[in-house]
Symmetry: C2
């Protein structure tokens, strides 16, 4: 079966099963706390726990040269990984960069890319400790980021949602999808903040730490889109979720600029790199006070052995979504 039929998540499940059947013998396996299937992997070492994640940006799949600047590309390639560590409630520490570029690439462009990367790295005290450069017919940046747990010694997991938990998100949604549109159609003054949401996402590291401190245990970062990502939480927690589409904290000006797309983009646009978490109401309220950014309840976790994500409007009527989220291979409906 071609991966286009199997889909990204079908392929990941297939490989996870293969690894599972491999026997997983030895000390490394026995120290593993979280393997494939969360935002990052976690294993025990004598000094605590190590968190590790890898994510890639591929030309013409995730970005177009000439659309995003090289400096933004560097920032974003690290930011998407920092966001995965944030979604575990961890602190990012060490990065390794695997870079593939055509031999016609200007070295100044690569330097600009590293400047963007170092800008974000500097804000979080991340050390870029190594990497690899390879020739390829297109640009691809794959970064592995290592992190550690925060002072509380707890983590955020996709599998820790409980029935009755409220589903909440940090910040605003849909801005990155609008930014991609802006980059495709040409940048306007009004489009600048959307473009920034797409090209320079700000990972929620401090917010992730505060979630853990306030007693949150379940979270994911919004990379594929809210519906797809809450679907990952549902499957990992063996629960369903009901999302109130009229409660989405849409990016400022999104409804005015793109009335036909705003809600869709908030639900499935992806790449906003906000945190989605689930917790009892009182904890969500405490988080709302503790965090500097907006915290918005958008739904709740419900019992459902089929792990469905139900979308309703404020009148309680079902909401139908055209595109559920990002899958690398099928590029069509998936998720819930």
């Amino acid at each position: 079966m071609k991966v286009s039929q199997l889909g990204e998540f079908g392929l990941i499940d297939l490989l996870a099963n293969l690894i599972e059947k491999g026997g997983k013998k030895g000390e490394a396996w026995s120290n593993l706390v979280i393997g494939i299937g969360d935002d990052a992997a976690v294993w025990r070492c004598q000094s605590g726990t190590q968190i590790a994640t890898v994510d890639a940006l591929v030309q013409d799949v995730h970005f177009k040269l000439g659309g995003i600047s090289w400096e933004d590309l560097g920032w974003k390639s690290l930011a998407i990984n920092v966001s995965d560590i944030a979604a575990m409630g961890g602190v990012p520490k060490y990065a390794l960069v695997s870079l593939a570029v055509p031999d016609t690439t200007e070295s100044e462009d690569i330097v600009s890319m590293y400047r963007g990367m170092l800008d974000l790295a500097g804000r979080h005290g991340i050390a870029i400790v190594g990497g690899n450069v390879s020739r390829a017919p297109l640009v691809a940046i794959s970064i592995t980021l290592l992190g550690e747990e925060g002072p509380s010694g707890n983590l955020l997991r996709r599998s820790a949602a409980k029935p009755g938990d409220k589903v909440a998100v940090t910040g605003h949604l849909g801005g990155a999808a609008a930014g991609l549109r802006v980059l495709t159609q040409g940048l306007t003054a009004e489009g600048f903040s959307f473009k920034q949401s797409f090209a320079r996402p700000v990972p929620r590291v401090n917010e992730g730490l505060l979630l853990v401190e306030n007693g949150v245990r379940a979270a994911i970062d919004l990379s594929d889109g809210l519906v797809s990502d809450i679907g990952h939480v549902c499957r990992a927690s063996s629960l369903g979720a009901r999302i109130n589409v009229d409660d989405l904290p849409l990016a400022q000006g999104l409804k005015e600029s793109y009335p036909d797309y705003a809600t869709e983009w908030g639900l499935s646009g992806g790449e906003d790199y906000e945190l989605l978490f689930t917790a009892p109401s009182r904890i969500v309220r405490a988080v709302g006070v503790a965090l500097d950014c907006p915290v918005t309840v958008v739904g709740e976790m419900i019992m459902d052995p089929n792990s469905r994500v139900v979308l309703v409007d404020k009148a309680g009527n079902p909401f139908s979504l055209r595109q559920r989220g990002w899958d690398h291979f099928t590029r069509e409906n998936h998720g819930a």
Copy 2:
């Protein structure tokens, strides 16, 4: 300047300088023991030291589909990283796989690739803890491997060579280059062991640990080719090296099968993934007894502020090499 003019190692130097100038502030940077410029990065944690490396295989640059089998590709993509940990004298532990494939790829082929990877992982107790899958117009596999120091608590560094040290290598050389030729020209019965050298390199983990235990402090793995790789040791140690080309332990049958290429391939063919190390004679002799594989002295480290690699034949005459080793961008002479 285009990276084709700057070259792979020029680009790496440029980026390392950029990172250096970035200020390197914070706890992560202060815990860093070895950054860019060795086989792997090393940092201190409370439990000892963490070793990390990343290396990639890109279709039509490192391999051709239809040439190497998917299972061998999986093995090799992990082996080249295990070899980097071995070259530090470390123990490989945790791997993260960043995979890019066209959406027309058969999932069975990806499963075969993972089987090859898991075969090698199982032999070393390596846990494959996570990864990322992305669509791309070609196949690229980038693996990050984390390891730990061995029981002795010492490491092998490119920068630790001393004047007068003998230069020695494990195993045999040139087999992988012959294997690539065999795969290009069609496999014959005599070519099988060369093909294996190219497609299923066996990383020298145990040998790396025994080198450390026996007092060796300087090593590198032979990925780019002996002349290029000893050049890295020379620059890192601010020394030169003299290599006796008639002393190379060429792969069995190489001279008979490819008389015109055997010595060249031993010097610059690359991808043999043997260990090259430098040490005083008595330590090299002890290593020769301790290791199960052949250990061959091929030259010695000499004082040279310009870090040149000098090639001589057994009569002491200079030997001229057509191609010095692998550079991703220039694809021409480089190194010494």
